[in-house]
């Protein structure tokens, strides 16, 4: 896949505050890349830097194969091939038509062209009936759809979405996600979306980049980022419920045997060090009334339920088996098992769901 954005070693300061450092990122043409990370980790700043709204303080960036650090004079032209949607719906106090027409007017498009394209774009976001309304009179979700059509009307080759649905109702969120994935599939539009909604990242993206403390900590397919986080901070951010200190005991048959609080477990990860941390997602841990068959999983052991915490539609069940493990069980399954505190259960956990990281 050809890289449409190539960034290397980017640094960005606001005064003395370092917001970005050592950022390396490559985005392929036609790819949807989700930038996930906690608030304040620099996602929005990185998007602004890549969209050429703000210059970086250091590093190399090339967009469309053009070195933008060298070619400052071409920023406006390059920016006109990209588009950005911001977190807060921003519309100008004018008609919806005028709002959507802005980008075309800046490009000096002809009147007929503008009218045709604006109508098409509003059709696409389902707001045709508001074409003459004042944009500021619309609801937040509708305003964001106006903002989206305002970007799309300019036919961007790269679309930046800066937490586009953070403040929106589920319907508007779904509409925007549908349009964006549709454009990516049909027009091959490259999309960079920043979000702190993990499930949105998983849902939309071909690839995920985790941003923590101003730098990109890990990139990869979502399965990899979520199941095999590189370190503790990433594991925490991607919502791994169990991060347990352990020690490597031995290696056999391609499995690593680790011991945590006297409980031995098999992991499919090669040992990164002697002292490790075991990372396991709650949904990978299954609970049973009786001892499960050995095909079920490599790790099977009895445990005691110590805590049950409903977080609809799931139930967080803490079991004690030497170490404490948190399992994520559907409410229905919890009911079927008749879970209650103090109850004896069997736990099963596949070796490949036990990921090891350096402590």
């Amino acid at each position: 896949m050809m890289a449409i954005i190539e960034a290397h070693d980017i640094t960005k300061f606001y005064g003395n505050l370092r917001v970005l450092h050592d950022v390396d990122l490559s985005v392929g043409k036609g790819e949807i890349l989700a930038l996930i990370g906690p608030s304040g980790s620099g996602k929005s700043t990185l998007l602004r830097v890549l969209d050429l709204i703000e210059p970086a303080n250091g590093g190399e960036i090339s967009v469309f194969g053009i070195d933008v650090v060298q070619e400052r004079g071409r920023w406006l032209d390059l920016r006109r091939r990209m588009g950005m949607l911001f977190q807060r719906p921003i519309v100008f106090n004018a008609s919806v038509y005028d709002n959507v027409a802005m980008g075309l007017r800046y490009r000096g498009a002809s009147g007929e062209d503008i009218e045709r394209k604006v109508k098409e774009a509003l059709e696409a976001v389902g707001l045709s009936r508001y074409i003459k309304s004042k944009a500021t009179d619309l609801s937040g979700g509708e305003q964001q759809r106006v903002a989206l059509s305002r970007v799309l009307v300019t036919d961007p080759e790269i679309l930046f979405l800066d937490e586009p649905t953070a403040n929106l109702d589920p319907t508007s969120t779904a509409t925007i996600e549908r349009i964006v994935t549709g454009l990516n599939r049909e027009a091959g539009m490259t999309v960079l979306i920043s979000t702190h909604d993990l499930s949105q990242g998983q849902r939309l993206a071909h690839r995920i980049a985790v941003m923590i403390d101003g730098t990109i900590a890990q990139t990869g397919p979502s399965r990899e980022v979520f199941r095999e986080p590189k370190d503790r901070r990433i594991a925490r951010f991607v919502g791994a419920e169990n991060i347990i200190p352990a020690r490597v005991v031995s290696r056999s048959n391609g499995f690593t045997i680790v011991e945590a609080h006297g409980r031995q477990m098999l992991s499919a990860t090669p040992p990164p060090a002697e002292e490790v941390e075991m990372v396991a997602r709650g949904e990978d841990i299954s609970l049973h009334r009786r001892e499960p068959e050995h095909e079920e999983a490599e790790n099977r052991f009895p445990a005691t339920v110590t805590r049950i915490e409903p977080t609809a539609p799931f139930v967080n069940v803490t079991v004690h088996c030497g170490c404490d493990l948190v399992a994520l069980v559907t409410a229905r399954r919890a009911e079927a098992l008749g879970l209650r505190e103090g109850m004896e259960v069997w736990v099963s956990l596949q070796a490949k769901a036990v990921h090891l990281i350096r402590r």
Binding site: G15, R48, D51, I53, L76, R79, R80, M82, G83, M84, F86, R88, P89, I90, V91, F92, N93, M102, G103, Y106, R107, T136, Q143, A147, R150, V151, T154, F160
Partner: protein
């Protein structure tokens, strides 16, 4: 004493605005309803703090009112003389000249001060920015005579700027350009600071939206930032114009002639005596109040300040 009229006028402008804001908040929405409510609760609670503040404020406002009243009774007692002075070509010409020179100064300010205000509003805090801001404010803190002297020394026939400009036929001493440049100097901080405040209120966010949609820096400024700051621009222009037409000491140093209105009043005060100068002053008060009232009214049709961000 002769410097008093301009500064009093300025005060008039400020208090006029403030009282309008306050009275608008307190008295709107049924004066009668609040009166009956007040009667019902009369004597129960008096906020002596506010009463004290009102009395102190009244003393201040009272001075302006008394001064106006004393002048008005004298003038309205002899309307024939007032009319004669007010309609004399000398006075009319001088008023028009003052207003025109002020407007001219404001136009130049809008042209050069707007870009400066934008740069100051968007620049990150730095020592250099602080220095520039202080320079902009210099005319505010200087005695007007000092300002006048500064302008004179720079623009006089042998001055650093006056000499080359007189070479191309632009004379400042005792000429209209001299009046304009003196007014420009003393009025500039009023315009630049108000305009800058306006630009600061336009969120960078909005500019970013325009830029991501493909607008260059100037297009963004022209289509987003400036339209959203129109109200501040207008207010700044009014402040600056009010300051400019009230100037006396700053102007006479370089351009005693042609007589602007403050010079004319001072001149007739020292030659014809109190009666004529008082009539001119009263005329100026009436005209200025009228003009400022109109300008204020026009503000209401301006600005897109309700932009959602």
């Amino acid at each position: 004493m002769p410097i008093a009229p301009p500064s009093r006028e300025e005060h008039g402008l400020h208090t006029d605005m403030k009282t309008r804001v306050i009275s608008g908040d307190l008295l709107r929405g049924g004066r009668e309803a609040s009166l009956t409510r007040w009667k019902k609760h009369r004597g129960r609670y008096v906020d002596w703090c506010i009463v004290g503040f009102c009395i102190m404020g009244a003393a201040l406002v009272g001075i302006t009112v008394l001064a106006l009243a004393s002048m008005a009774t004298a003038e309205l007692g002899n309307p024939a003389h007032l009319l004669e002075v007010a309609l004399s070509s000398e006075v009319i010409h001088s008023i028009l000249l003052t207003f025109a020179a002020g407007a001219n100064a404001v136009l130049l300010l809008a042209l050069f001060g707007t870009p400066l205000a934008y740069v100051l509003a968007r620049a990150h805090p730095s020592r250099f920015k602080g220095v520039v801001e202080s320079i902009v404010d210099i005319p505010l803190i200087l005695p007007h005579t000092v300002a006048g002297l500064l302008v004179y020394l720079l623009f006089m026939r042998r001055g650093w700027l006056g000499a080359p400009l007189s070479g191309i036929g632009l004379a400042f001493e005792d000429a209209y350009p001299g009046t304009v440049v003196a007014m420009l100097f003393v009025a500039s901080p009023f315009y630049v600071n108000t305009m800058r405040e306006g630009f600061e209120k336009v969120p960078v966010h909005l500019e970013n939206v325009a830029r991501t949609l493909g607008a260059g820096t100037f297009t963004t400024f022209r289509t987003v930032t400036l339209p959203l700051s129109l109200r501040h621009m207008y207010n700044g222009a009014i402040f600056a114009w009010g300051r400019a037409i009230g100037e006396f000491a700053g102007v006479i140093m370089i351009a005693y002639y042609p007589f602007i209105i403050s010079t004319l009043i001072y001149y007739s005060f020292t030659t014809d005596g109190i009666q004529t100068s008082r009539s001119i002053a009263f005329t100026v008060i009436l005209v200025s109040l009228g003009v400022f009232y109109l300008l204020r009214r026009m503000t209401r049709c301006l600005g897109r300040h309700d932009d959602r961000v």
